[in-house]
Every structure is written in C-alpha cells, then in structure tokens.
Point group: C2
Amino acid sequence: MRTPEELTELFRSSGRKITAQRQCIFRVLQGNETHPSAETVHAMVSVEMETISLKTVYQTLHDLAELGEIISLDVGTGMTRFDPNTGDPHHHLVCRKCRSVRDLVAGFPDLQIPEGADLGFEVGSAEIVFRGLCPDCQLSAQGQGADIPVRA
Amino acid sequence: MRTPEELTELFRSSGRKITAQRQCIFRVLQGNETHPSAETVHAMVSVEMETISLKTVYQTLHDLAELGEIISLDVGTGMTRFDPNTGDPHHHLVCRKCRSVRDLVAGFPDLQIPEGADLGFEVGSAEIVFRGLCPDCQLSAQGQGADIPVRA
DNA sequence: CCGGTATCAACAATGATTGTTGAAAAACAA
DNA sequence: TTGTTTTTCAACAATCATTGTTGATACCGG
Ligand SMILES: [Mn+2]
Ligand SMILES: [Mn+2]
Ligand SMILES: [Zn+2]
Ligand SMILES: [Zn+2]
C-alpha cells in the first residue's frame, strides 16, 4: 500500500473524492501488520473519529482493494482480513486460539506441482496458511483451553 | 473415512443410533472427491430420501467430523466443504470460477519455515490452496468471464 | 457557488449455519 | 414386545458478517 498522500492522489485521479474518513482509514492501515478485519479497522478509526460508520469503512476498504492497494484475505477466521502489504508476496501464520494473523516472509519456491497432479487445473496462485499458536497464546495455554472453531 | 459398515459400528459404539438418514449420508460421502458442502450433500441424499432435512445433514456431518471421519474445510468459497479423504495428507486446487475443489496429492516436504521467520508461532499444520481454473472453466473462459468473488 | 459524491443513521436483507419447539417416528436394550 | 432414549421433521427464529436502501445532511472540488 502506498502512503496516505499517494493514496489521496490516487483516489482523486480515479474520480473518487477525498474525505477525512478516508484519509483516517489510510493512516490506520499504513504499516499495519495485524491484518485487521473491517470491524477492527472501524474500531481503530473510531478513536479519532467517533461517528464514522462501519458502512463507510467497508466502502473504503473495497475501494482500496479495487485499486489493488490492499488485499482481501480469507484465512478461515470468519471475517475478511485486510492486508496493506502488497509489496512482497508472502504467506500467513494464523493462531488457532486468538485468530491473530501475521506475515510469514519466506519464499517456498518449491510449490511446483508435480507433472499430472494438477488434474488439468490452470493454477494461477498458491497461498499457504500455517496454523498454530501465537506467542501470547502459548503462555496462556497452560493445560486446557479450547481452540476457537474455524468458521461456523 | 471408513466404509459405511464400519461407520455404522463406530456410531453405535460411540452411543449414537443408526438411522436410514445417517447411512444414506455415509454412502453419499464414501469415495466422494468433490468436497461437497452441506447443501450439496443434502441435494445428493435427497435423491434417495426426498424428505431428509438439511438440519439432519448438518448434524451428521458434525458427528462425522467430531469422530475424525471427515474434515471440515474452509477454502474461501463461502461454505464449509467436507472432505472424507482423511487418509493421506494433501492440499487443494480451487477453481476461481465455479468454486470446485479437487485434491492435490503431493508432498511439499519443504514447508520448513526458515529460522526466525515464524515470529515465535508454534506451528502445527500447513495448508496450501492453489487457485486457478478447472478444466471445464478453461473451456468456457473464452475471453471474458468474471471470477466469483471469494466470500463476501 | 454548484453539482455530484460521500456520509450518516436507521433499518432491512442476504446466506450459511445454528438453535428451538413439539410432535412423531424410529432405534435398541431389556 | 415393551419402554426409554434418540433422532428426525417442519417450521421457525436467531446468529454473524456483510451488503443494500433511504432520505437527509455535509462537503469535495472544479
Ligand atoms: Mn500479510
Ligand atoms: Mn481433499
Ligand atoms: Zn493467539
Ligand atoms: Zn471451474
């Protein structure tokens, strides 16, 4: 994702108008590595703008995704997560307990599908989701503690 | 997943009763490689039993998942898919257009996370989702044709 | 300044899934 | 066979993330 300033320019040049809400969302997303959901973005933005609506957040996130400035992620946590890190291709670590999502910056160049194993699919991309326990949840996982079920 | 006969025994020995509905679901799942959703299982079972309720299908699928006989999959198609192939670990090919899901039986033993890249996560499993176009959709993809958006 | 967006609140709707109820049917142990 | 327990069913309502709607107000930008 580009800087809020560049996004401002991009929005304008793509026929969109610049509002305080949108710029606030730009700022919140900038450098954010937590892969927030729309709700989470809304909560963060609400600190600065108490009256911003969740609807507006969804709209702006969709605009950003449409422009390729953020990526919509579905890692099975029940809510779409948004990722401003569009620069380097990467994979994700997902905590089974608290559902936090972190980047895993590693190549894995060996995702070549063996001859004939692709069943005729024309494969365009591959995503790896590593599931486990984040550092925080390892501490609080003394003995018991059920995982949060993955979506429904 | 075991055979319908073995599942019948397993259900009984786990305190569950055997019904015509459940056995019908066992049969439909047996050897099914399409990763059906609950709705799809319901549709298939309905051919034999017109009055079976979707609720019953959900219940039985959950029982089977609880017993480890099938796996619940979330590959971003909006509906949970069920996989009776619990024998060999494998990954999945997902069609961007029709959302069909097929097995990709390949090792990928090189999913070792580089030192320090795991951010302290205690990683238990890794799933790879390959996205692309299935053979059928390659044919009907002459020129245009929008992808079905991934969940929401 | 003016026209077109954007935002807001408030609300309804979606779609997959789960919960509830009460009645009827079936399973199965004795 | 009988009696207890489970399961199923229909018909609903509820959930949760997300999208749509409306009408009024605000404000961006040429
Ligand atoms: Mn990421
Ligand atoms: Mn599979
Ligand atoms: Zn955690
Ligand atoms: Zn397809």
